[in-house]
Symmetry: C2
Subunit: 201 residues, 2 copies
Amino acid sequence: MTISTNRLSARDNICDVIRRELIGGKFDFDQPIREQKLASRFGTSRGPVRDALLRLTQEGILVYETNKGVRVNSPLSEEERSVVVAMRLHLEKFCLKKFLPLATDSDFGQISILLERLTSACDRASLPEVAECDLALHRYWVARASPHLESTWLGLSVRMIMKYSRLSDYDQIREEHDRIVRAILDRNLTHASLSLEANVI
Amino acid sequence: MTISTNRLSARDNICDVIRRELIGGKFDFDQPIREQKLASRFGTSRGPVRDALLRLTQEGILVYETNKGVRVNSPLSEEERSVVVAMRLHLEKFCLKKFLPLATDSDFGQISILLERLTSACDRASLPEVAECDLALHRYWVARASPHLESTWLGLSVRMIMKYSRLSDYDQIREEHDRIVRAILDRNLTHASLSLEANVI
DNA sequence: AAAAAATGGATTGTTAACAATTTAATTTGA
DNA sequence: TCAAATTAAATTGTTAACAATCCATTTTTT
């Protein structure tokens, strides 16, 4: 989560790195995650690692079993995924509606930068980076519109994006986000919502 | 969360107790929560307390700030709440649809017991207990229909139920849940969904 | 030989001490 | 007197050691 911190702690750092790798598909489903292994990898003790794993558990990426540690959660069924998609869409459309009127030039600048990064990641055809930039872009307007609902949105989105077969067509991703961002810069809510619906599936 | 454990650890215990108290309105909004205080109260060290607080943070009940600890999250705005309600309703109706065909007599027995507890809590007019029993009842069919989405559902529901002005009318609560459970025992999806819509608002 | 019991290694759960940071109180300076 | 700088207390962040539990292997028992 890291809701606005200056210097991010070991825990936050570990959490972000692991989440990125999980999103990028670096671990297999049901694969157990060992605390000590991560601790030595990040050069810390098991404490911060445990904290990070607990957070990811609550996000639904990992599953926890007492005295057995965590493992990568198995993927959602098609039905479950469609429910999550609908919820995320509902939430994100609400956030867009709230965001557009209060968006400043600075916001537009930030969004342009994030779109730039996403485009660049698509060019490099790097799936982990694409997934991360994709989330970061959407997250921007969610966080601006409703900090309260940011963690809810993150949980849904991360769960959605895992096992992302759709992420093969980088041209399409770039195109879809181009369209969303253009609509946002025009403050055109209808168009932005429609573009979002085409993208979040 | 405690996704199926035999003996629950200090962390799980603390987490459940604190969540219950938060739902019951024992803490004020924005009130800071001190680790040491809880630790001595539960007779443990700060470790398990930290774990529990992190979990509740991810559920959205608490807010975390680096080096400053956690505090009770401020309540959702009316708009935000209506979005959460819509999401929860969507999710829970899906779960009902999945649950009804696979429900066994044992399930019906469990649900009846949970309803009994809710009714009893209403009789005692104990708000914390009513809130807890309410959640436990709904949670039952969610967990049975889709363990994957249980934590998502919990996050939405807990966030919804905090600051529960609606929970004043205990007769209505009992009535609404009576209706939902009756529809479930009849395996009447249409009726169950409608009763749910009247309840989750 | 098969099932049950015991063993040892690996892993998680918990603790207490220490380090780093924040917060409040106190002192200092203009 | 008021604001800035300094100190002290409170609080969180991290660590390493120890306890409890799980899991695979070996031994024992029938």
